[in-house]
């Protein structure tokens, strides 16, 4: 017993101060891409050719789809003009798929639930997590939200064991064909009204597995999605901030 108490003192209080204080992220963290199409040379496609997943369009001006982006920064490295860089801004979530496509202009982006749903779930949201072809990185960084560091419970959000106890699903993975039916059945088991959150590039667009015959190119092709959190995998702060902002 004395050992347990001694360990408790040594381990200290570890919950981060966010949202009172901004989190400390590593300097090499690759967060929200910042585009400056004015710097692009006419006809240059180096970024597009470097991207492993086709997240970049250059035909009608530079555009980057965060829903497909793996945040590998190959585009930024390929660009000799500095038209793309990755900031350490971890706030990436959006409610509408089209809001994940960046073109260098500031635009309003819906990041909160509508009024009625917020009244229902704003103070208490129970989620059932479903991995549908996920590689266990998104799953791990969702799971970490329940540790003392992030302490998801203090925001009224909790993961539950049964879809029947849940208000919605948090889905990871590109939705493998072999998980499609199980995902749909799990969704059907959640009582309405219900919400769906797609976490990670795979769940949003298929990610590295986009176009594979054995996957469904993300959750949207199977279920209606209410919140998207980009990343491969998203930093836990991106997921946490996305959820908390959503319920605000």
């Amino acid at each position: 017993m004395i050992e347990i108490l001694r360990a408790r003192i040594l381990q200290r209080h570890r919950t981060i101060a966010w949202p009172r204080q901004e989190p400390i992220l590593p300097d090499r963290f690759r967060g929200r891409p910042v585009l400056d199409p004015a710097k692009c040379a006419a006809g240059c496609r180096r970024c597009r050719e470097a991207c492993p997943v086709g997240a970049i369009e250059t035909e009608s001006g530079l555009r980057l789809d965060m829903g497909r982006c793996l945040f590998c920064a190959a585009c930024a490295e390929a660009c000799p003009f500095g038209a793309i860089r990755f900031s350490t801004d971890y706030r990436l979530s959006a409610c509408r798929r089209e809001d994940l496509v960046l073109d260098g202009k500031m635009k309003s982006c819906a990041r909160t639930l509508d009024e009625q749903m917020r009244r229902l779930f704003g103070r208490s949201l129970k989620l059932r997590q479903v991995s549908a072809g996920g590689c266990n990185a998104c799953e791990a960084d969702v799971n970490v939200l329940t540790t003392v560091v992030f302490d998801l419970g203090r925001f009224g959000i909790q993961f539950v064991a049964s879809p029947r106890h849940a208000d919605g699903l948090l889905v990871t993975g590109p939705v493998s064909k072999n998980m499609e039916e199980a995902l749909v059945k799990t969704y059907e088991a959640v009582p309405a009204p219900k919400l769906v959150i797609a976490v990670g590039a795979c769940a949003i667009s298929g990610g590295a597995y986009r176009g594979h015959p054995k996957t469904c190119n993300g959750v949207s092709s199977v279920l209606p999605v209410d919140l998207f959190v980009p990343g491969c995998p998203p930093h836990p702060m991106s997921i946490l901030e996305g959820l908390v902002q959503w319920l605000k």
Binding site: E3, I4, R6, A7, R8, L10, Q11, R14, P26, R28, F29, R30, A50, C51, P52, V53, L70, F71, C72, A73, Q129, V130, S131, G133, G134, C135, N136, A137, C138, E139, A140, D141, N143, V144, T146, T147, V148, V149, F159, A161, S162, P163, G173, P174, S176, K177, N178, M179, A182, C202, G207, A208, Y209, H212, P213, K214, T215, C232, P233, P236
Partner: protein
Amino acid sequence: MKDFLSIAPARQIPIEAVPMFPVEEFRERVIAATRNGMRLIALPGRRTEAGSVRVLAVLASDKAGALFLGETEMDGEYAALTRDRPFAQAFERELAEEWGLRPLGHPWLKPLRFPCGRPGVTDFLVVQGEGIHEISVGPVHAGIIEPGHFRFQCAGENVVHLEIALGYQHRGVEQSICKAPAQRRVCYFETLAGDTTIGHTTAYAQAMEALSDAPAPPRAEALRAIALELERLANHTGDLGALANDVGFLPTASYCGRLRGDFLNMTALICGSRFGRGLVRPGGVCFDLEPSRSDELRRRLDEVEKDARSAVELLWSTPTVMARFEGVGVVSTDVARTLGLVGPAARAAGLDQDARRDFPSGWYRFHHIPTATWSTGDVFGRAFVRWLEIQRSLAFLRETLSALPAGESNRPPKALLPQRLTVTMTESWRGETVHVAMTDEHGALALYKVVDPSFRNWMGLAVAMRGQQISDFPLCNKSFNLSYCGHDL
């Protein structure tokens, strides 16, 4: 008489140097070699132009540190290796599923990954008798984990038999590796088993480097080893916390949950990603460690080691924890060897094998890590081996960080040589990770086989559950902590 060809890991050889045997002789040679302590570590097939299937056996001699290769060509039926060598069971099921071969006498010829859909639809073994009942779990589990289906045959509270049906995570990775452009291909390895990003990307990078005869610079090899040990530390620490959670011992569960994140953040300090995404590429690594970053890493290691020791050692001094760990989910040395288990699960059962020591590649050729083994093969053994490995990885990191080789950390990759073959092995945190790669006459990848350690270990979990209480399943499962997507590919 020809013999199997002996090669070193992470070296390339011309494909035609691999000796070919008639099916019967091939089978006898594999059986004879594995009687003398060699292990079967890969059995990939490929279609020949004539339409038959060429099967390559990769055998590993831990004592000699050498791999032995032999091939055969077959079509349709052949006498299953599994009849005599149970560790071939998953390999032969894979051959049957991918190439339509029929291993006669295979005692467990069930679908492996259900690549054509209808996952979980198969004939499960059914136990009959008074008081026998069936419990069916998954694919969607109660926690935040990957999907798989578990079918228990129980007598009261005790498990008579557990059958595991996977394939829900099948993404068709292997089929896409050869066709994919290089910039996308590395993304497959980063996400093959997302918690083993460094283990798989390192094996892939080494394969590409071997096939192009262009080794990575020593500094890159050292940085890869640092990342691989950080990956091991994060996962082992997380596993110890999860084991504590499964027996309801919350102090260690809570502390280790946090400490796991601290190790992930160290990887992020190196490359910006907690899982090592974007770090390892053929030719080297994309991020270097300047002295200040290296000092910061060492400072964090000192701090975390102290906390990890306090958190983990509570487990061994708490009788309620030990009562749940000891004697539960036992895999004997013989069973571990018979099933061909790898990694901490094998070492906990007394098998003294570790690819970092037996088949060193990269930085492990210069810097050795003592292998940690235990003899009990139970949950405690698997937990305690992890703790030993944590301590040894920490010491390794400190030494490597204090003596990083100078020089470049990246070289531009070269074109692959035509008609070559290589086998690379890394000891990732779950165990031996084997990649087999071949090029065609134009120097394009013609075959890429991935053998994740989970592929070798899932049967170990099923066997460990025999005669156990059903309530010990989460604990046993966590003590193996196997990858679903690494198996399903």
